[in-house]
């Protein structure tokens, strides 16, 4: 018998641990996906609110009209929800422009960790020169890399300190608004088909009253 790979007891343990970690990561990904799906279901309820009155009052009696009405209404809801994060991002950008103008430096690196960037607030490691070891022919990092910078406050980085969190918060907020817009769009598409659908699933012609048979 030809033995292709000879595994030591340590290698077997390592493989089992790696397998468990991979399974755990996939399970966590599954739960995150379910969470996002439930959040989108919650966000899509707004579409029901938007379309309820016009359908119940009978103002719209057509699938296509309901769909386009829903889309136009969805634009308005998107604007109502997204103007605050948009303003935050706009304000952050203006602050950065103001910073560049006052410092007379239009070549700012906002991620710089030495003096003028947001990286000054974090531990920065030298990942490029991290110690590595071979595992099944692959180079893997086997130890913590050396530290390039420790967290410190720098007055020269005030532009980055305001710009990066503002853009981060505004961006995430805007992406949540986009997610809500997608959820509502799907719901509008579904409702516009469902509300005017004629179904004979629960109908039986023998159950209803019949016209009397006239004697000849």
């Amino acid at each position: 018998m030809v033995t292709l790979i000879k595994l030591t007891e340590n290698d077997k343990r390592l493989i089992i641990v790696l397998l468990l970690v991979v399974i755990l990561l996939f399970v966590i990904a599954g739960y995150v996906g379910l969470l996002v799906r439930n959040i989108m279901k919650y966000q899509s309820k707004r579409a029901d609110d938007m379309l309820n009155d016009v359908v119940r009052a009978g103002v719209i009696r057509d699938e296509k009209k309901l769909f386009w009405f829903g889309i136009r209404k969805n634009y308005r809801v998107l604007f109502q929800q997204a103007w605050i994060p948009f303003l935050i991002m706009l304000g952050s950008s203006l602050i950065l422009i103001l910073y560049c103008a006052t410092m007379n430096n239009w070549d700012v690196n906002i991620w710089d960790y030495k003096d003028e960037g947001f990286g000054t607030l974090f531990h920065v490691f030298d990942w490029a020169n991290a110690p590595k070891a071979k595992f099944f022919g692959i180079d893997l990092i086997c130890d913590w890399p050396s530290l390039l910078s420790t967290p410190h406050f720098s007055w020269n980085a005030w532009g980055a300190y305001l710009f990066v969190p503002g853009m981060f918060v505004g961006g995430i907020w805007f992406l949540i608004c986009v997610q809500a817009y997608i959820a509502r769009s799907f719901r509008i598409k579904k409702l516009s088909k469902q509300v005017f659908r004629k179904s004979l699933d629960d109908y039986n012609a023998n159950d209803g009253p019949r016209s009397p048979i006239n004697p000849e």
């Binding site: 399974i23 990904a29 604007f79």
Partner: protein
């Protein structure tokens, strides 16, 4: 255990589909940015032309009017059939608790024309001396 494997399977699917989901999300984000800019310009124009940006759409106004009329009609129809309830200034006193005593029995009055014949006045049949020793007529 089944739900664990189901979640694991969903996780695998989500991880595989993640790049496409992110691409879809990014495309929608760009689209939404365009929609936002379009709505902002439109709202500014409406605002400066004296209108109400993001006000009710004409379909909404129509729907609200119809629903209001319907609710008013149903309210009016309810007012016809509902009788007004009496209003008391003071709360009605609770009745005294009934004591567990038997009511006195009153003999019902007999009708005046009721006639009960005396035994002496009854007719006697003396035609035969059979078993009927008393001689009463049945």
């Amino acid at each position: 255990m089944a739900s664990f494997f189901k979640t694991f399977g969903l996780g695998v699917i989500y991880v595989i589909a993640l790049p496409f989901i992110l691409l879809f999300w990014a495309i929608y984000a760009i689209y939404c940015l365009g929609v936002f800019i379009y709505m902002a310009i439109r709202n500014v124009i409406i605002f400066f032309s004296g209108g109400t940006p993001n006000g009710d759409m004409k379909e909404d106004v129509e729907a609200k009017r119809i629903l209001l009329e319907r609710s008013q009609k149903s309210q009016a129809s309810q007012n016809i059939y509902v009788s007004p309830q009496p209003v008391f200034d003071e709360p009605t006193p609770m009745p005294e608790p009934v004591q567990n005593e038997p009511e006195p029995y009153e003999q019902p009055a007999q009708p005046e024309n009721m006639f009960y014949p005396d035994e002496e006045e009854l007719p006697i049949d003396n035609s035969f001396d059979g078993d009927n020793k008393d001689g009463y007529v049945d």
